[in-house]
């Protein structure tokens, strides 16, 4: 990642190493993206630049290591720790939090892939259960509804983009999604709509 590439744990002063682990602790505990302000308050420093530099070093350390975890820098500058996507299907059932079932997540994929899209079209492709899915996804803050005349237009939220570490720019996001779907479908083949959900 950029100019910090050369830096590694060895080059860091003890004090900086301690700050690195504090960022790690904060990200581990949060389970959500943290902005530089929050991270600064944990480190008791005011320099966001410094915090960003350290968080990037940490993210890089994680990327270099053989590990199931990753630390990502989101577009809006926040950092998040999470399980790498490829491990999700393997350990999903162990997670304690109630999980969103596959049906609504397929509807989410479809909306993300075709957005902006009318609710009607989603229901036509995914079946009438999609009404329930759409409601669930809206409750989770992953999609938003917008009235346009008689139609209801659906699209994903910035929360969605952040959750999956995707760009806020729709065009870029769709490209990223395409790649992501290709990786995912190599694990399980793409489904043509209407079938099981």
């Amino acid at each position: 990642m950029k100019e910090t590439e050369q830096v590694s744990e060895q080059n860091l002063k003890k004090e900086e190493l301690e700050k690195l682990t504090l960022i790690e602790a904060a990200l581990y505990v949060a389970g959500r993206p943290l902005d530089l302000k929050t991270l600064s308050s944990v480190l008791k420093t005011r320099s966001k630049r410094k915090v960003r530099r350290l968080a990037r070093i940490l993210a890089e350390e994680y990327a270099k290591r053989v590990t199931a975890l990753e630390i990502l820098e989101l577009e809006d500058g926040r950092f998040v720790m999470q399980l790498k996507a490829e491990y999700t299907p393997k350990v999903r059932r162990i997670a304690t939090r109630p999980l969103v079932p596959a049906g609504p997540l397929r509807t989410l994929s479809y909306i993300a892939y075709r957005q902006p899209i009318t609710q009607k079209q989603v229901v036509e492709v995914r079946g009438s259960h999609a009404y329930k899915h759409i409601k669930q996804l809206e409750d989770l803050g992953l999609i938003s509804k917008e009235k346009a005349g008689k139609n209801t237009i659906l699209r994903t939220t910035t929360f969605f983009a952040d959750y999956f570490g995707l760009s806020h720019d729709l065009k870029t996001m769709k490209k990223q999604l395409k790649t992501l779907f290709e990786t995912l479908s190599s694990q399980s083949s793409m489904k043509v709509g209407g079938g099981e959900r």
Partner: protein, 231 residues
Amino acid sequence: MTVSREKPFYFNPPWNILFDFNRLNKISPWQVKISFLLTSFLEEMEKRGEIDFRASGVALDSSAFIYLMKSKLLLKLEEPPAPRPVIKDIVPPPLFLPLRHELTSTTIEHLLQVLEEVIKGERLFVHKIKMEPILPQPSEVLPEIDRYLMEIQKQMENLYFRLKGVLREKRVIGFSEIVSKAERLEIIRTFILLLFLAQQGRINLWQEEEFGEIFITLAEENVIEGNGASF
């Protein structure tokens, strides 16, 4: 919980059709999947914990109406339309949300603090139960009553025997005389026994004025019924 200002969930698709009678009259009943609508309506209501009987009633009424319309059309030999073909489009694989560990903020102190409130509620509940009328077990209580009644009978006989002795010489005696040396409790007991004796017609009791002396005489032998207590 949902904010009360929000309109109820069932005013949104797909359930809104059940609550819009004007529209219901205009649509083709074949477009409405009643079982799906009702099942999901109930599920949603349960999930939200907002059980609304009025809404359920309206939903039921509308479903019945739709069934009626369907039956009428069938009687007119109108074929139900073929199911709408599902439009084929590529549906990408599900996007599983990234798993993140999150430390939750609930501590054992929180758990115990709320427990305190719950236990208070439990006490109220238990208290309420105890206040309900409970019929005593006959086997335990009846012998008690028997013993009490037997005791009264015995005491009554004693008192009657005493009165008979006193009243052999004079026909009338005042209540204050027979309890002149008695304790307060004894006075009350004697008074109650006098009432019992009068009730059985074995003595006569009367007062000449309110709060005045109570006079006692023996009733005529063999007269069991008749003018018992007269005060």
